[in-house]
C-alpha cells in the first residue's frame, strides 16, 4: 500500500524489522483501522493533501507509518488542531485519529466543539474500552464490572456508566455522518472499511463533519488471544455500543473558503483610515491650562456619554497634532454602573494616562460630582449637569464650578443623548482648550457614517457654548 512509507524511518530509525512493522501488539485493532484509512487515502487519490493528526494514546506514533502530512497533537486536542489545519488550508483533507481516553475523556470539549462546528473534518474514533498506552486503566468506555488497573474490583456505579460517544455525536446538529463499526469478523471489517471510506469521501466532497467509531480489540490488556478478544467485543461491547449508522444526512457541498486576502488597499479600506488630513484650527498648545499636560475626567452613569465625549476630545487633540490618550474605567462589561473616562492632552507625550487629580472635571450625575470634584486641582474647572445635580460639594476656592442644564438643553433639541455634546460646547467655551472648529471637526468626522445626526450634534455643541457664554459674560 503506497500510503504507508516504504520504510518506517521514524520508527527506531527504521532499523531492523521495525522499518516494516508497526509498534502495535499482535492482534491490535489499530493496525486494521490504519489499513482501511491508508486504502481510502489511496483510493480517493488524496495522499498529497491529507493532513493526519496523531493523538496521544497507542496511536500516538501514527506519523511513523502514513506518508502524508503529519501533525502530532497534545492529549485530547486533536480536533482543535484539526480546525487549525482545515482553516489554514481548506483544500487539505484533515483526518483526526483518536482513542477513547483521548477523545472521550480529556478531549471531550474539543470533539464536541469540532463536531458541532461541522467543518468537513473526519474523525476516526478507536474505542477499545481501556487506556492501553498507559497500562490498561479505566476508560470512559470501559464496560460496567470490568476490572482495570484503576478499577481493580471492576467498574462500579461510582465510576459512572460507559460513554456512548457515537450516539452523543449523532444527536448534535453539526455532524452529517456518524457510524459505529467493529473489526471482529469479515463482515464487520468490510463495513468498517466502507464507513471510513465514506467519512473521508464526504470531506473531499466538502459536505461536512463525519465520525466513525471503531470498536477495536486490545488483546494485551484483555489478556486474551486475538480471537478471544474478538469474541469479547461481540459479547461485552456490542450490548453497550450497538453497531450501525447513527446519522447520515444528505447535504449539498457547502464548504467553500477563499484563501486569505493580502491586498494592501483592501486592508486599509477595512481600517477606515482617512486619506486626507482633517483641517486644523489651533496654532498653539493651550498652555493657559497647563504648560505641558492637561488632564480631564468625565464621569457619569453608563449611557451618559462620558466615554464618547472623552473619545471626541482625544480625537480633537490628536488632530491638532498634540498627543492625547483616553482611558475608560472598565468594569465587567455590564450596563448601568458608573462610567468615567480619563483624558490627557500633552504638548509632546502623555506620560501617566490616569487622571486622579484632573485639571477639568465634567460630571453628568451627582455621585460622580461628589466623588471626583474634591480631587480637582486648585485652579481647575468643574462643569456639571445642573438638570440632574442639585447639590454641589464644598470645593477649593480656586476651583471654578459651572452648572449647565445639559439634559434640559438636550431634551429641548429633541434627544437627550446629545447632553455629552452640550457638555463639550460648555467645555470649549469655559476653557478655550481649542477653538470650536476643532471640536466640530472631531464630531463631524466621528459621525461621517451617520450624517443625519450632524446638525443635531452641531446644535447641541453650540447651545452648550451659548449657555456658558451667557453665564460668564
Amino acid at each position: 500500500m503506497s500510503v504507508y512509507y516504504e520504510k518506517f524511518t521514524r520508527h527506531a530509525r527504521g532499523e531492523g524489522i521495525k522499518g516494516a512493522t508497526t509498534h502495535y501488539c499482535p492482534g491490535c485493532g489499530h493496525g486494521l483501522a490504519h489499513n482501511y484509512l491508508a486504502e481510502t487515502i489511496e483510493a480517493l487519490d488524496i495522499q498529497d493533501r491529507t493532513v493526519l493528526i496523531s493523538p496521544v494514546g497507542c496511536s500516538v506514533f501514527m506519523y511513523y507509518y502514513m506518508d502524508v502530512g503529519n501533525t502530532q497533537a497534545a492529549h485530547g486536542r486533536a480536533p482543535a488542531v484539526a480546525i487549525g489545519h482545515k482553516v489554514a488550508n481548506p483544500d487539505a483533507v484533515v483526518i483526526c485519529y483518536q482513542g477513547d481516553g483521548d477523545l472521550a475523556s480529556i478531549g471531550l470539549a474539543e470533539i464536541i466543539q469540532t463536531a458541532q462546528l461541522g467543518l468537513p473534518i473526519t474523525v476516526i474514533f478507536v474505542n477499545n474500552g481501556t487506556y492501553a498506552m498507559t497500562g490498561g486503566q479505566l476508560a470512559p468506555t470501559t464496560p460496567m464490572g470490568m476490572a482495570t488497573a484503576t478499577s481493580p474490583d471492576g467498574r462500579d456505579r461510582l465510576m459512572g456508566e460507559p460513554l456512548k460517544v457515537a450516539e452523543m455525536i449523532a444527536q448534535m446538529d453539526g455532524p452529517i455522518y456518524v457510524e459505529r463499526v467493529a473489526l471482529f469478523d469479515n463482515k464487520q471489517r468490510n463495513r468498517a472499511k466502507k464507513a471510513i471510506r465514506k467519512a473521508i469521501r464526504l470531506q473531499t466532497e466538502k459536505r461536512g463533519f463525519a465520525f466513525v467509531e471503531v470498536l477495536s480489540e486490545c488483546p494485551t490488556h484483555l489478556r486474551m488471544s486475538s480471537d478471544e478478544a474478538q469474541e469479547w467485543i461481540k459479547e461485552k461491547m456490542l450490548p453497550i455500543f450497538p453497531l450501525g449508522v447513527k446519522k447520515d444526512l444528505v447535504v449539498e457541498p457547502w464548504f467553500d473558503m477563499d484563501l486569505p486576502n493580502f491586498d494592501p488597499q483592501a486592508l486599509v479600506d477595512q481600517l477606515g483610515t482617512a486619506e486626507e488630513e482633517l483641517p486644523r484650527f489651533s496654532d498653539h498648545f493651550p498652555a493657559h491650562i497647563d504648560t505641558d499636560d492637561i488632564s480631564v475626567k468625565m464621569a457619569g452613569a453608563g449611557g451618559d456619554g462620558a466615554q464618547t465625549a472623552a473619545m471626541l476630545l482625544t480625537r480633537a487633540a490628536i488632530n491638532e497634532s498634540f498627543d492625547a490618550t483616553h482611558i475608560p474605567s472598565y468594569g465587567p462589561q455590564s450596563r448601568g454602573g458608573t462610567s468615567y473616562a480619563d483624558v490627557h492632552i500633552a504638548r509632546t507625550e502623555v506620560l501617566s494616562p490616569a487622571a486622579p487629580d484632573p485639571h477639568i472635571l465634567i460630571a453628568f450625575n451627582s455621585p460622580s460630582l461628589m466623588k471626583f470634584a474634591p480631587a480637582v486641582r486648585p485652579g481647575g474647572i468643574v462643569i456639571y449637569d445642573s438638570s440632574v445635580i442639585t447639590e454641589v460639594p464644598e470645593l477649593d476656592s480656586n476651583v471654578q464650578c459651572f452648572g449647565v442644564p445639559m439634559t434640559e438643553i438636550a431634551r429641548s433639541l429633541g434627544n437627550i443623548m446629545v447632553k455629552n455634546i452640550v457638555a463639550l460646547g460648555a467645555l470649549q467655551s469655559v476653557t478655550e482648550l481649542f477653538p470650536p472648529g476643532t471640536f466640530l471637526t472631531a464630531i463631524r468626522s466621528a459621525l461621517s457614517e451617520k450624517c443625519a445626526l450632524i446638525p443635531l450634534n452641531e446644535a447641541a455643541f453650540e447651545k452648550g457654548r451659548q449657555f456658558l457664554e451667557a453665564l460668564t459674560h
Binding site: 500500500m1 531492523g16 524489522i17 512493522t21 508497526t22 502495535y24 499482535p26 492482534g27 485493532g29 486494521l32 490504519h34 489511496e42 495522499q47 498529497d48 500516538v60 506519523y63 502530512g69 501533525t71 497533537a73 497534545a74 486536542r77 482543535a80 488542531v81 480546525i83 487549525g84 489545519h85 482545515k86 489554514a88 488550508n89 483544500d91 487539505a92 470539549a109 474539543e110 469479515n186 471489517r189 488483546p219 486475538s226 484563501l259 486569505p260 486576502n261 493580502f262 494592501p264 488597499q265 483592501a266 486592508l267 486599509v268 477595512q270 481600517l271 486619506e275 482625544t314 480625537r315 490628536i318 492625547a324 483616553h326 475608560p328 472598565y330 465587567p332 506620560l351 494616562p353 490616569a354
Partner: protein, 463 residues
C-alpha cells in the same frame, strides 16, 4: 471481479508477522495455520499459509493489522502492473518556500485606536488572517475587532470552546505555516501554557497577546503585570522560552505585534506580547507602517499539499539522545534570541546615577518621574525593557557605571525585579547598585509622585 490469476494472494513475511491469528479466523478456505517456530528476528511465532485452497478473496488482507506482513502476490502480475503504476502519487521534491513578501501600504492618516485594537491591526498588517480565541476581559475588544474585520479579508475567526482549545487551534494553523494569534488575559494565558510548550517543542510559530490582569485566581480585571514570571520562566513544562515583548503605548501595541509575527516565524517559536489592562484600554494615536506583510508558506509547514507532504509537526523525541539533541538545538535558538533580540528604550540614561526600570504602563509613570526628578536636579534616567525575555541586559550593563540606585517600578509583586536580578547575576555584575522598588498590584498602578518620593528619600538618607 478480476480473474483468479490476477487476484492478489497472501505471502507471509515471517519476521513481520506477529502471529496474532486474525488471518486464521478470517480465511473461509482455512489456508492459514499458526506456525510452530519462533522467528529469530521478531521473537514471535508467525502464522503459516498454504495457498492450495486460496481463491484470492482478499479477506486476510483486511484482517491483518500489519501493513507489510502479508505480501500481495499476483500470479499474473504483468496484467495488473499497468493499472498499479498510476496509483502512487509520488511526493514532489523538497518543498519550495512560498516566499513572504512585503507590500507597500497606501498612505493613510494616523488612526486613533485603543491598545487592543492597535494590536489587532498590527496582526493584520503582519499578515495574520487566522484568529482563535476565547473572550476574557480586558482583552476582548481585540478579538471583537478581528471578528469584524477578518471575514472581509477572507480570513478566519474561530471562537474556541476554551483557551485550551484556542492554543491547539493555533498549533494546527501555525503548523500549517499560517500566522495565527489570540488575545487573552492572565487566567486564559495560564490555560494556554501546556499548548505553548507543545508549540515550542514542535517549533510552531504563533502570537499570544496577553493583556495582563490582577491575580492570583480570579483576582480582578484591573491592570497588573502579573504574568511576567509565566512569560519569562514558566511557559509550560520542559525547556521552554519565548520572546516576550512589552509595549507601553497603542503605537507600540501595533508595532510590537507586527514584530512578534516576524520573530515568531524567524525562530519558529511562539512570541508573547505582554500588555497590562491599562494598555489594552488606552486610546491614542497610531501611525501605520509603510509596508504590510503577505506571508508565504514556509518549507517546514504541514500545509496539506504535495510540496509539504514529507513534513511532520511533532514534539515527541523518544530516545534520550534525540531529546537531548533537540534541547541542545533549542538552547542554541534561545541563545540566538538572547544575542540578537534584546530591545530597550533608554531615557536620560547616559549620565544617570538613579536608574528607574519599568515596562508597560508603569514605564509611563516612571518617565514622568524622571522628568520631575531632572527638574529637581536629580540625575535620573529610565531604562525600559521592550523585551522582557530576553532581558536586555547587554543594553543595561554599560549604563550602570555611575548608577548608585536602581528603582524597579512595577505593577506586580517583583516579577520584573526578579528578571532584572537574574539577568544581572548571569551577566556577572558583582558590584550591584542598591535595588529598590515601587510595587503595586491588584489594579493599582505606581504613581509618578511616589516614585519621585522614593528616589528623594534615598538621597536624603544616602547623604
Amino acid at each position: 471481479m478480476p480473474k483468479l490469476k490476477e487476484r492478489p494472494k497472501p505471502v507471509i513475511t515471517p519476521e513481520l508477522c506477529k502471529g496474532c491469528g486474525r488471518c486464521i479466523d478470517a480465511c473461509p478456505k482455512h489456508c492459514f495455520t499458526m506456525g510452530e517456530m519462533i522467528n529469530p528476528l521478531s521473537g514471535l511465532i508467525p502464522a503459516k499459509v498454504d495457498l492450495n485452497a486460496c481463491n484470492g478473496c482478499g479477506l486476510c488482507f483486511d484482517a491483518c493489522p500489519e501493513p507489510y506482513a502479508l505480501e500481495r502476490w499476483i500470479e499474473d502480475a504483468l496484467a495488473v502492473e499497468l493499472e498499479m503504476a498510476e496509483v502512487k502519487p509520488a511526493a514532489e521534491n523538497a518543498p519550495p518556500v512560498i516566499p513572504t513578501t512585503r507590500k507597500p501600504l497606501p498612505t493613510a492618516q494616523p488612526l486613533i485606536l485603543k491598545g487592543t485594537y492597535a494590536s489587532a491591526v498590527g496582526a493584520l498588517l503582519a499578515g495574520c488572517r487566522h484568529f482563535f480565541g476565547y473572550p476574557i476581559t480586558p482583552s476582548t475588544e481585540g478579538a471583537e475587532l478581528m471578528a469584524k474585520l477578518l471575514p472581509d479579508l477572507d480570513g478566519v475567526f474561530v471562537q474556541a470552546v476554551s483557551e485550551v482549545a484556542t492554543v491547539n487551534m493555533i498549533y494546527g494553523c501555525g503548523g500549517a505555516g499560517r500566522p495565527a494569534m489570540t488575545f487573552t488575559s492572565s487566567p486564559g494565558f495560564s490555560l494556554m501554557l501546556e499548548g505553548i510548550s507543545y508549540m515550542i517543542g514542535a517549533e510552531v510559530p504563533g502570537v499570544f497577546v496577553n493583556i495582563m490582569r490582577g491575580g492570583p485566581g480570579l483576582g480582578n480585571i484591573a491592570p497588573e503585570q502579573s504574568d511576567i514570571k509565566l512569560a519569562c520562566r514558566g511557559l509550560g513544562h520542559g525547556n521552554t522560552h519565548a520572546i516576550a515583548l512589552a509595549p507601553s503605548s497603542p503605537q507600540e501595541m501595533l508595532d510590537l505585534t507586527m514584530l512578534a509575527f516576524e520573530l515568531s516565524f524567524k525562530y519558529r517559536n511562539p512570541v508573547v506580547v505582554l500588555g497590562d489592562g491599562y494598555l489594552g484600554q488606552i486610546t491614542g494615536k497610531v501611525n501605520l507602517p509603510e509596508t504590510m506583510v503577505a506571508p508565504g508558506i514556509p518549507r517546514w509547514a504541514v500545509y496539506g499539499d504535495a510540496q509539504h507532504r514529507d513534513n511532520l509537526i511533532c514534539s515527541i523525541m523518544l530516545s534520550e539522545e534525540a531529546l537531548e539533541a533537540h534541547n541542545t538545538y533549542l538552547n542554541r535558538k534561545y541563545r540566538a534570541m538572547i544575542e540578537h533580540e534584546q530591545r530597550a528604550e533608554t531615557y536620560y540614561c547616559d549620565d544617570a546615577d538613579v536608574l528607574l526600570i519599568a515596562a508597560n504602563t508603569p514605564a509611563r509613570m516612571a518617565k514622568g518621574a524622571v522628568e520631575s526628578l531632572r527638574r529637581q536636579g536629580v540625575r535620573a534616567g529610565l531604562f525600559r525593557p521592550i523585551t522582557l525575555w530576553p532581558f536586555p541586559i547587554d543594553l543595561l550593563t554599560p549604563l550602570l557605571e555611575d548608577v548608585q540606585e536602581i528603582v524597579v517600578v512595577e505593577a506586580s509583586n517583583g516579577q520584573l525585579e526578579d528578571e532584572l536580578r537574574l539577568a544581572l547575576s548571569k551577566a556577572h555584575v558583582i558590584d550591584l547598585p542598591l535595588i529598590e522598588n515601587v510595587r503595586h498590584f491588584g489594579g493599582i498602578l505606581p504613581q509618578q509622585d511616589e516614585i519621585v518620593e522614593k528616589v528623594l528619600n534615598y538621597r536624603v538618607w544616602a547623604s
